[in-house]
Symmetry: C2
Subunit: 278 residues, 2 copies
């Protein structure tokens, strides 16, 4: 992969990179399509990264279907499908980690304490293997996007980051490889997540600014379904992930996590207050 990237760079071509864990859906293909508009050659990696799963999480049963992924990636214009093996990515006796310590401590990091260390470490490795000019991540994993952005800045990766908007099913459910785990009824109950975000957006559009009120609104909507167990409902500065009490001109991330059936789902939206110059 490094040799191929050197060769492409030597020809003056711009390399774009979309890291994934496979189990591709239209959300991933959106990342690929966005990537193609910013570079000459698009590389997509498929690697189910063991170190970002906790001991009791779904690493073993995470969906894997490389043939299907390869077909989908090619159909969306992927030039190179990079599928490294775990023993290559993590050599025997590996002992080096990349850790972002502030943004990683909240939200997902609280429920999944080793998750983001696994993410930043594997993304560093993949960046160094693929040597891209730009890389695309999804807004679906809003905290991950903020952490990768911070890591790229802090470590001076010479890589342009692009964040692609959340892709949703027709009924509003944010696309996720983990939606496969949902039962038929769970699939319907899970709509409470996107519905609660829409309610919050409407509340803000109508002049609502108070974070407590927004959180209460969202929790109430989620709790209306007995099948949904709320993990967190958070209002944070979209860049620093500091908690927000009152919406202002800054972009505010409304992020939620909840369990439906036994599946943990996340969703989010950016709340913006239109400031009117007088």
């Amino acid at each position: 992969m490094q040799q191929e990237s050197d060769r492409l760079r030597g020809e003056g071509l711009r390399i774009g990179f979309v890291p994934t864990m496979g189990a591709l859906h239209e959300g991933h293909l959106d990342l690929l399509r966005l990537c193609r508009t910013h570079c000459d050659v698009t590389v997509m990696s498929v690697f189910v990264n063991p170190t970002q799963f906790g001991a009791n999480e779904d690493f073993g049963r995470y969906p894997r279907d490389l043939d299907r992924d390869a077909m989908l990636a090619a159909s969306a214009g992927c030039d190179i499908l990079f599928t490294p093996q775990a023993e290559e990515v993590y050599p025997p006796g590996y002992s080096t980690w990349v850790q972002e310590e502030i943004l990683s401590a909240t939200l997902e990091g609280r429920s999944r304490p080793t998750h983001f260390r696994g993410v930043t470490t594997v993304v560093t490795k993949l960046f160094l293997m693929v040597k891209p000019h730009c890389a695309v991540f999804g807004q679906k994993d809003a905290q991950q996007a903020a952490i990768i952005k911070r890591m790229v800045r802090d470590l001076h990766f010479d890589i342009e980051l692009l964040i692609a908007p959340i892709r949703r099913e027709a009924d509003g459910l944010a696309m996720s490889s983990r939606n496969m785990y949902l039962s038929e009824s769970g699939r319907i109950e899970a709509l409470a997540l996107s519905r609660s975000l829409r309610l919050a957006e409407q509340f803000v559009a109508g002049g609502g600014r108070d974070a407590d009120a927004i959180r209460a609104l969202v929790k109430d909507e989620l709790n209306r379904s007995g099948a949904v167990t709320v993990d967190y409902v958070a209002l944070l500065d979209a860049e620093t992930l500091d908690e927000v009490d009152m919406l202002s001109g800054q972009a505010t991330l409304l992020a939620i996590a909840a369990r439906v059936d036994r599946t943990r789902l996340i969703d989010n939206t950016i709340l913006r207050v239109e400031t009117i110059e007088r």
Copy 2:
């Protein structure tokens, strides 16, 4: 720096990199000279990295003389002197670290618990800023060399590492920027370090294999000087830094650290057993 490196790479030139903290001596210039034999353009960085100093260490009084460094570097054939500022290397609110967790825990890491985290983090940043094809480190900092080697392997940096031998004064003292701190008498007492290593080498050349015996020999020599306080005398596998009981065909690192006056000095040698095939 990144743009210049891209330009040089675009011309097909091979970039060599020598990271330093300045206060250059002939040891650093050896690194530069070795680098020049492996690449087309040599970059030397001078950056006194705050994060590799402990709270009670010598960050404030570490010798700084950029004009002198620039002259010396140029005289040894340095093409680019890279002198980033601390606020560039560590942007405001930085929160990302690179940490090697196994090799870093022993020797220097025991006395200086946050030292190697600072080293691996800054070397990662410098690698990403300079984008070298090869980089040179000194055997003087044997543990650092082993850790950087491990980090480069683990994270997949596409960089060839070269380790330059220890450069010594005529009387045997290993060159170090910290030798400046020594008093005239301390300078003489400090010779116990290299002398003890020579004794160990002779012991092994004469058939000695037992690590306890070698350690005792070295400690006795160091303790003969009342001005020398031993921190550690260690015999380790040169690559894994695992402790060694008995010398074998593997390269064994004999590493020592001691205080002379109030200055902490380190030195080391690789002990090799000549195995005779029968």
